[in-house]
């Protein structure tokens, strides 16, 4: 439900940007094609035109015949601009300039440093024992002997926050001698 609404809102925003001439030529062409084949979008665009006219000229607020000529002119200009050669675009102050050599070098070294730091951090997390939290109490009892008559029990205490269980050797009170 909310997904549909957000989708509609996104389309409305796109239409608004289209109307304001803020879209890139490619985007404008895509939206233009969509409007041509979609009555609902055409109606929305019409209402945008009406609102625009009402704001621009309150005297002509009764905009039953919304004037789309300026809008279509905008769209067509945008599409033409896309197909213009680069030099023409540069003259018209079109696309942004290529970053300078210094900026490219700086960007490269920043990327290299950031990658090296990321690798180091990952390696620390995976290799450093205990780096992920509390120290491990993981214990393996290889052999256990208790005095004659005594009883030994090996417990393990599990803790979800610990990486491993904690081992407890419990030797009963009545301990005797081993040998």
């Amino acid at each position: 439900m909310s997904g549909k609404r957000s989708q509609k809102e996104a389309r409305d925003r796109e239409l608004q940007r289209f109307f304001d001439g803020e879209l890139s030529p490619a985007e404008a062409r895509r939206v233009y094609q969509r409007i041509e084949s979609n009555d609902a979008d055409l109606m929305r665009l019409a209402s945008l035109g009406e609102m625009h006219d009402a704001l621009v000229d309150t005297a002509s607020a009764e905009a039953e015949d919304a004037d789309f000529s300026a809008l279509w002119d905008n769209v067509e200009r945008g599409i033409e601009r896309e197909s213009e050669p680069a030099s023409a675009l540069e003259q018209s102050g079109g696309p942004p300039r290529e970053p300078s050599r210094f900026a490219r070098g700086l960007f490269r070294w920043t990327m290299v440093t950031a990658s090296a730091v990321a690798v180091a951090v990952l390696a620390l997390v995976f290799w450093w024992p205990g780096a992920t939290g509390a120290p491990s109490n993981d214990c393996e009892i290889e052999s256990l002997e208790v005095g004659q008559g005594a009883v030994s029990t090996i417990f393990t205490i599990d803790d979800p926050e610990q990486p491993d269980a904690t081992t407890v050797i419990w030797v009963s009170e009545s301990q005797g001698e081993i040998r």
Binding site: N137, C139, D164, T167, E173
Partner: protein, 159 residues
């Protein structure tokens, strides 16, 4: 660009590998902390100095005690194959021998021999060999003391 990226990553990896390799080649030694505690039925809670073991001491078999109090904390340092002995509050002796330091699946583990014995007359009460994670704690309990039960925590960390 890709070459610089690879060089940067490689140098970071080499630095880490170098430090890890260096630590395994170092002379093996261990520092162990022996904590003597007593578990009692009277109310009092878990000693604040045992906060790092609080979760474990609140679970069975220790959940039966309303109080767990730290009686003594002793630190011993041992080289490989060396032994050290400490006295426990109930008069028994705890002897630790550091057998070796192992590197299993890139993680340090410590192998130790532990003995608890009575001195007069000499009686060996507990004798165990164990392998524990670096910085890990082994708990031993069961001997009667001060109307409760003696609990011994052995925490060892390799150097």
């Amino acid at each position: 660009m890709t070459r610089q990226l690879m060089l940067g990553s490689l140098s970071a990896l080499l630095l880490l590998l170098g430090s890890a390799f260096g630590s395994t080649r170092a002379e093996a030694a261990v520092t162990c902390t022996v904590r003597s505690m007593v578990g009692l039925q009277s109310s009092g809670g878990i000693d604040k100095r045992l906060s790092f073991l609080r979760k474990q001491l609140k679970r069975p078999p220790f959940s039966a005690y309303k109080t767990i109090k730290l009686l003594a904390k002793q630190q011993i340092e041992m080289a490989r194959r060396a032994s050290k002995q400490v006295g426990l509050p109930n008069g028994t002796q705890l002897k630790l021998t550091f057998i070796e330091k192992l590197l299993i699946k890139k993680r340090v583990r410590l192998r130790l021999h532990l003995e608890i014995s009575k001195t007069k007359p000499r009686k060996l009460l507990t004798n165990t060999v164990f392998t524990i994670a670096d910085g890990g704690t082994l708990l031993l309990a069961g001997q009667a003391h001060q109307g409760g039960t003696l609990v011994v925590g052995v925490t060892c960390k390799g150097k």
